[in-house]
């Protein structure tokens, strides 16, 4: 496949111009992760002081798992939304046919959306990790290599969901835009974000283990409570990621083909 980094760079530049021209968009990127951290962070502070949080190793570790989970959840959510928000800008501005009629390949388009997902994360979540240190004494970066592994597993899952949602938007237009905001939230109850998988009913646990984030959040608790990096879990999570990313890519291709067949690419409104 003939991939051009210049064309990927053109799309990244297009989104960078947009962010530079719209302070409200930048504010939005920073605002929600900060609000999420402060709300949940102060709640867990209250719960620790009230003695409501108890876990092996003590309340401080329980607090660490909660704030760590908040930060990693935000990375997952904002990673997916950063991917999809860049894509949906093309629908809002009715620019998609210009993009699809240009020499830009679908893989290059996805590459640009992945890059924007990372850039938006850096803008939005990086300050929040610093806030977590300042307000709650929790340093995500101190997890080191484990954090890098968590990040990779979460991001591939975020991009898979982003790719699938973008395909749905291609096919069904802006009528499906709520999925950009809502779809990832199915992971929150099932993905063992704030509690161990064993909390779920037995029949639901196999469903949870089908989701890569489950391996990350279980891994986070392993690091903070048991002080071990569960490479076995992370490897399994990444293997599922690879499968899901391939499935999402195939779904995107099929939905693009379906949109071409339905003639919906020239009229991508509601």
């Amino acid at each position: 496949m003939n991939v051009s980094f210049k064309r990927i760079g053109a799309m990244v530049l297009r989104y960078a111009y947009l962010l530079r021209a719209s302070y409200t968009r930048v504010l939005d990127i920073i605002y929600w992760p900060a609000i999420q951290l402060l709300t949940w962070g102060f709640l867990q502070t209250y719960l620790v002081r009230a003695g409501a949080l108890a876990a092996p190793g003590g309340a401080a570790q329980a607090a660490g798992t909660l704030i760590g989970a908040i930060l990693l959840w935000d990375i997952l959510l904002r990673g997916q939304q950063g991917f999809c928000f860049s894509f949906i800008e093309e629908l809002w501005s009715r620019n998609l046919p210009n993009i699809l009629m240009s020499p830009l390949r679908p893989a290059e388009f996805v590459g640009a959306l992945v890059a924007m997902s990372l850039i938006r994360l850096a803008v939005g979540v990086l300050p929040v990790t610093i806030m977590a240190i300042l307000f709650f004494g929790f340093n995500l970066w101190a997890l080191g290599i484990a954090f890098a592994a968590f990040f990779v597993v979460l991001m591939f899952f975020a991009w898979s969901i982003g790719l699938f949602v973008s395909g749905i938007l291609l096919r069904f237009g802006l009528g499906a835009e709520n999925l950009v905001w809502s779809l990832m939230f199915f992971v929150q109850p099932l993905g063992a974000v704030y509690y161990p998988v064993t909390t779920l009913p037995n029949w639901l646990q196999p469903v949870s283990w089908m989701l890569p984030p489950t391996y990350v959040f279980e891994g986070l608790r392993g690091v903070l409570i048991d002080h071990v990096i569960r490479w076995d879990l992370l490897t399994q999570g990444f293997a599922i990621d690879v499968f899901l990313f391939a499935a999402a890519s195939a779904a995107f291709g099929l939905l693009l083909k379906s949109a071409r067949r339905a003639g919906s690419l020239l009229q991508t409104g509601e």
């Binding site: 993009i99 009629m101 003639g263």
Partner: protein
């Protein structure tokens, strides 16, 4: 000429092209080709299938049957071999509103791998009189200014195949005339084949050396403007258009 001489390959070749929605045929079957340096008008009333036809030529709509070849590339399988040499302008498509005109042209210039992009943008700004608003956000421009920017985008890669859907629809007569002059110049200097969907009959008469008349998705006539006028016994293409649209085609046989 040698007996072995091969006819030059058309810039665009459309064969048996049709489109159905829910088993209802909306276009086709269409057969036509565009030679390099030609301007072909695509005429028809609202809903006649012009935009669907252009969409299929662009590869944005999948034909139910038939094929489109641009520069010899099958647009259903090898479109990336042709897209760098094509471009289009359509009223159904905008450019990012928050970006300035210069930023938009820069992004599209990079997508089309345009060499010496700064010089190209300056030249387009001069040719299409974009200079006054080159650094203004595209969304803040008037309809006519936006159309000129869209035409600038469609010319940024010096295309050899240009698909235009109502390119002067929102322009005042002076600016529209001026844009037509630029399109004629581009056709001459780049030997560009142009497919032009328009409701402006004087524009078609001026620019086109051939006219395809569509009605209910099918090709009902295909000739030069002069021949159409002669065959229909009319003074203007608008009268010919009305004859075709209203089914008054008895006297139109070739």
């Amino acid at each position: 000429m040698s007996q072995n001489a091969v006819a030059p390959r058309p810039t665009l070749a459309v064969a048996g092209l049709s489109k159905n929605y829910d088993k209802r045929r909306v276009v086709g079957p269409l057969d036509f080709s565009l030679e390099a340096g030609s301007v072909t008008g695509l005429l028809g009333g609202n809903g006649a299938g012009k935009t669907t036809t252009i969409g299929m030529v662009m590869g944005l709509i999948e034909p139910t049957q038939g094929s489109v070849h641009a520069f010899g590339c099958d647009m259903s399988r090898e479109r990336y071999g042709a897209l760098g040499r094509m471009n289009f302008e359509s009223p159904y498509v905008d450019m990012p509103h928050r970006l300035t005109v210069r930023q938009n042209l820069r992004v599209f210039g990079m997508l089309y791998d345009v060499a010496d992009l700064d010089a190209k943008i300056e030249q387009l700004a001069k040719d299409l009189a974009l200079g006054d608003f080159l650094d203004r956000q595209t969304g803040r421009l008037s309809a006519g200014q936006k159309t000129r920017v869209a035409i600038a985008k469609s010319l940024i890669n010096d295309p050899q195949l240009l698909l235009l859907d109502e390119p002067t629809a929102s322009l005042d007569p002076d600016t529209a005339d001026w844009v037509r002059t630029r399109l004629e110049a581009h056709r001459r200097t780049h030997n560009c084949a142009i497919l032009l969907a328009s409701h402006n009959m004087s524009e078609v008469e001026r620019l086109c050396d051939r006219v395809l008349m569509l009605k209910d998705g099918t090709l009902v006539d295909d000739d030069s403007p002069a021949s159409l006028l002669a065959r229909y016994g009319r003074d203007t293409l608008e009268e010919v258009f009305l004859d075709v649209a209203r089914g008054r085609v008895e006297g139109a046989s070739a």
